[in-house]
Symmetry: C2
Subunit: 148 residues, 2 copies
């Protein structure tokens, strides 16, 4: 017999995400589960795809909130369509491009300042890059992408 639903432990093993993190994602609304009569979580297989997307998006540098927003636009308990995935990943690729360009500018500035050591507030390109690392809010983790 083929299992059509998965327990939280099975999802954890298959996805490499800790059970506690799966609970957390569920609280945040990123994934959903149904419950057995005994209140245990059971997941559709499509949750694995959803988790895969979450992992990729995290490695791109998105916050869970942003990922949740992106995920909210697609079917909750079916695998996303190719078009859905295409739209999301294309946007992320663009964001990555922007981030890469930004880091490139930073590196070039660093290169041109090596040996100069000026760090002049006025003239040093490193001091006035015009694009410091973006943040969400004033505190918390730095994110990888500039503001969009």
């Amino acid at each position: 017999m083929w299992k059509s639903v998965l327990s939280v432990g099975e999802v954890a093993r298959r996805s490499g995400i800790a059970v506690s993190a799966l609970h957390f994602y569920e609280r945040k609304g990123l994934i959903r589960s149904v419950r057995t009569s005994g209140n245990q979580r059971r997941y559709e297989r499509s949750v694995l795809r959803r988790i895969a997307i979450i992992q990729v998006a995290q490695s791109v540098g998105l916050s869970l909130e942003e990922i949740g927003a992106a995920l909210a636009g697609l079917p909750a308990d079916k695998a996303p369509s190719t078009a859905d995935w295409e739209r999301m990943s294309a946007g992320w690729r663009d964001a990555l491009d922007a981030r890469i360009a930004q880091l490139g500018r930073l590196r070039d500035g660093l290169g041109s300042c090596i040996g100069c050591g000026c760090l002049s507030t006025e003239t040093c390109p490193l001091r006035n890059p015009g694009d410091r690392i973006g943040r969400r809010g004033k505190t918390g983790p730095r994110i990888l992408l500039g503001e969009e």
Copy 2:
């Protein structure tokens, strides 16, 4: 008369760093001050250079702890030598290069997967990049650079 020392407010204005953050950096050992008879902080002018370095290093993606370690190797209350700066910034540029390359691989994977939507755990390059974003510890903010 030319001021040889600066109050915390002056440093804040000149560096663009909040007073509370300067206190914080001091607690973390990144910067130092002397005190007046009335217990107020007074900074050597060289602290501005040090803060500039901190800002650049943060925009490169280093944690304050890493920055502190790098800063620990150079004179506490003199401006760092050109050689000091050269050594630090060269290392950071290399780290940036590595990070840029990593993001490039991620973007390429994203590009090749757009329209495929596979995300197969086995075969999808996005799922097995071999270089997810580095972290310090298991929790806390993502950092921008891979492990070194």
